[in-house]
């Protein structure tokens, strides 16, 4: 399986943010997107996820399920956590499990996900009580409550401490080791096992 971007040109407003970008990410691989603010990391991720229609070029998942769009085979974690404050931690995770994964072995998956991100002691608390870092971890726990071959993460380590970042890195490594692939926008180096780096600033066509 590989995620392929072919000759992408993406406009935001009247500005061409990305022009003529091609790359492929194979199963078992993680691609780190780097580049200054405004280099187009978020835009590229949202295009891969299918929210933004590129001006030119296309995104496809080779070896995936042809019935589904790329977005339907991907986890997308953006700047927001998609956490409901009046639901408990466990309810938040259980909802995404039921919604994204048709609730297969729900309890097991939810339990594993919360444990991995160190939230198991908080599972009965309403999410409103969580700190920013804990909310972020709950947002990331979504990655484990449902199985998706593609992970698209936008600055996933934002508001995470070192220990939590390591848990995320471990989750991504597990994911790639079991045949998944990931595209991660980050400005911090992540100690991933099999990662390549794509610097978006360098990709820019000189003016």
């Amino acid at each position: 399986m590989q995620l392929i971007a072919e000759d992408l040109a993406i406009d935001r407003g009247a500005r061409r943010v990305i022009d003529g970008l091609s790359f492929a990410v194979k199963a078992g691989e993680a691609l780190l997107l780097t580049g200054a603010n405004g280099a187009g990391k978020t835009t590229l991720l949202r295009t891969l996820a299918g929210y933004i229609r590129p001006f030119r070029g296309r995104v496809r998942l080779e070896g995936g399920d042809d019935e589904l769009t790329v977005a339907e085979q991907a986890h997308v974690v953006g700047h927001t956590n998609a956490v409901k404050l009046s639901l408990s931690v466990a309810e938040n995770a259980a909802f995404w499990n039921a919604y994204l994964d048709s609730g297969e072995d729900a309890e097991l998956r939810v339990g594993t996900a919360l444990r991995h991100f160190g939230l198991e002691d908080l599972s009965e608390f309403p999410a409103a009580y969580l700190s920013a870092g804990q909310k972020r971890r709950l947002g990331l726990a979504r990655l484990l409550v449902a199985r998706r071959p593609v992970w698209l993460l936008d600055e996933p380590t934002a508001s995470l401490d070192t220990a939590s970042s390591e848990r995320l890195v471990a989750a991504v490594n597990d994911h790639t080791n079991s045949g998944g692939l990931a595209v991660i926008a980050t400005h911090l180096p992540l100690a991933l096992e099999r990662a390549r780096t794509l610097n978006l600033a360098a990709q820019k066509v000189p003016a």
Partner: protein
Amino acid sequence: MKSFWALLHRDVTLAIREGGAIGTALGFFLVVVSLMPLGLGPDLNLLSRIAAGILWIALLLAALLSLNRIFEADHEDGTLDVLATGPLPLELVTAAKSLAHWVTTGIPLAIMAPVLGILLNLDLAAYPILVATTLVGTPAVSFLGAIGAALTMKTRRGGLLLALIVLPLYVPTLIFGISAVSAGAGPTGLAASFLILAAISLVTIVLGPLAAAAALKVHLQ
């Protein structure tokens, strides 16, 4: 289908837990209805004649208050982005959320309407009809409202704009809702307007989610 029920269940749970929206809508409904006699004078005959109209208009205004939260909250915390990547087509996402709005706002308002009818000296025979028409008519309120909520999701002063867009669309519901209740309609008129009201609700249940989903797709870009 499991995703649909999960989403519906979550929205209903949220509305009950957060409580504010339902309470505000019901409170607003009560306030508007009780202001009417103050404006029109305490003539009970007059009030009972126009009770159905007052109740329906106040109900629409009360429902309007809660519409803008249908998509806004999910948009703000990023839930909408994730919902869009789920196995459920966006049309069914909007359908589930409109349905949840009906369950949490339409039904409570419909139940509240006959209680407020007492304040307006509503004819006793009209009570069952009032409950029936509000129950059958309020889905149109939620599903049409969802279109407006989706269109105005990211706008400044979204609430006022929402009212401007949605209220003209409520005209048919209002007309047939009232005409079914008003005493002069007679049994045949009643059956006719009741059926038309049901038809309007069915049409909007089909049309609303399509238009709302189209609007959300634009916003997600």
